[in-house]
Subunit: 335 residues, 2 copies
């Protein structure tokens, strides 16, 4: 299956499956809002701004579906859903400082509106608040999973930043970075329900494996959308990654196969951090000609299959069906 | 007692009292070093750099003395000593980004050496690592105290940053900021030993009160040293706070008492963030003439007394003597 052969968007199925956790997702929003209230005016103001901006809430949705799969039904999984979303948002906020981003999801970033200083501190506050929220349920194993996921994510970002702008980034390095930067927090989100009391520790590993593979699939598709997406849907121009110095799989696979002239096109964008002497269309034609967008999609399909296989040992039912469907939804998303 | 009437530095006493926890402080260093090892080259490199730079280690020393006071003697308090030091260092590292600082303790800052992006991520990693280290002892109450202390500290910094450069900062606002920014982590450090099993929860409150008062004393003296210290001892020029837009007690107390011309001297430095049209000596003469350095010192003495009074309900012995001496040491420090 190539990108162009993707089935049409399965929105009705997605809506049906998400409806399984719609009530809990609504509660998650409430928990988020309540925990961002503060007597510090800036936290109150910027917290509201961030959560008005929304987001896909994919991490809480996955956590809540995995909780349903294990028959959990309490406030506890709702809290943890809010916690993983908060950790994710703290990362985005600090990332926007690092990337000097002025727009996210079509709105001005926190750093653009209020400067780097307040934004660094807001991210710190969100990270610690997320841990503080999780503590209230008294389950230290969950805190451990959250800390480990957060650490791997930060390490992934450090590795990525150290390799930023480097044209010799290898496939292995890229996958190592992606594994830590994105997949580990998905793995944490999916496995936490097995650690809630009464624990089902034997299911933590397959759930983590599911989350990890889904996370890798998610990130590969995210990287692909930078080549195949529409600016109007993405809220940012195409080839933003390359322009910001980030080499992703379609170009990493392509580079060893092309001659110095084409290689140089990519190098110039990486060096200039802009399309000064190269047109975005030249890069897009290149990946199309070499078929590396499709190859990347194939790899994403491979991770989707891996995710589904990890579910084999897990209980059946509507949540299992939803989790089996999730990789398809991720593969077919347009933004 | 005024600043000039301070007794000569009581170094022999300080050394004697610190020797009570010297072994544990050495172990703390080992724990710090071990937990900063990483397969991420940048973490390894910058972690070594930070800890070669040293520091006063006052927070672990206080935690370890409070642990001794309660008869604790295990690895657990050593871990928590390392944890509070790590939290403190994470703050400094993020602060240096916010303040655009290029020097700390006479050495180049992490942001100066490696840029803001890596430094934001390193601070995040240190915060999460500190929580991760604390988890290993399985005491969720300790994690709660650490998270709460860290949150108050971040809030204090947010409040301070929002009021940066403002000439109308009030004494109450200044104390509110200082309470959160500095005193709360001292309070956490001192009260944690009461939360270690077997818990002595009835002693957590007086120990927190001791730490809070000592922290306020510590910060007031820190602010004073910016007026009275020597550049060679401080590792930074005098009046750095004012130059960076931070109004501290000697000037906050002075401002309502002087006329528009003198007020304007201070405003110009705050606005320019530099001594362009005002000499540092003019400001120093001003606080000397109005006696507000001595008044600030009096307040610090008040907090020192408060700290000592909080010890009344605590067990006697060598650790209690050391804790009674600590406020004097803080009052008399020169750097």
């Amino acid at each position: 299956m190539t990108v162009d052969q993707r089935p049409s968007v399965q929105l009705p199925s997605a809506t049906r499956y998400l409806s399984l956790v719609a009530d809990k997702l609504a509660l998650t929003e409430e928990v988020l809002r309540r925990n961002l209230e503060s007597d510090v005016p800036f936290i109150q103001k910027s917290g509201e701004y961030i959560f008005e901006g929304g987001g896909k809430r994919i991490r809480p949705a996955m956590l809540l579906l995995c909780a349903r799969l294990l028959g959990r039904d309490s406030d506890e999984e709702v809290t943890y859903g809010a916690v993983v979303e908060l950790i994710h948002n703290a990362t985005l906020i600090h990332d926007d400082i690092i990337d000097h981003s002025s727009l996210r999801r079509g709105r001005e970033t926190v750093n653009q509106l209020w400067g780097n200083g307040l934004t660094v501190l807001l991210g710190d506050w969100l990270y610690t608040t997320s841990m503080r929220m999780a503590i209230d349920h008294g389950n230290i194993e969950v805190i451990r999973v959250l800390c480990d996921g957060t650490l791997r994510m930060t390490e992934g970002e450090l590795l990525a930043l150290e390799r930023l702008g480097k044209i010799d980034l290898t496939v292995d390095e890229y996958l190592e970075i992606t594994e830590r930067k994105t997949a580990q927090l998905f793995a944490a989100a999916c496995s936490i329900p097995a650690v809630i009391f009464p624990q089902r520790l034997e299911l933590a590993e397959p759930l983590a494996r599911y989350g990890r593979s889904l996370g890798l699939c998610f990130q590969l598709v995210d990287d692909l959308l930078d080549f195949t997406g529409q600016e109007s849907e993405l809220g940012k121009p195409v080839l933003s990654d390359l322009k910001e110095g980030r080499l992703t799989l379609p170009l990493i696979l392509l580079l060893p196969r092309v001659g110095p002239r084409r290689r140089d096109l990519i190098r110039r964008v990486l060096d200039d951090r802009d399309f000064l002497s190269v047109e975005p269309e030249e890069i897009l034609e290149l990946v199309e000609a070499e078929g590396t967008v499709d190859e990347t999609f194939e790899r994403a399909v491979g991770y989707a299959d891996e995710a589904r296989r990890a579910l084999d040992v897990l209980p059946g039912g509507d949540a299992r069906e939803a989790l089996e469907f999730a990789p398809d939804f991720v593969l077919n998303r347009r933004s």
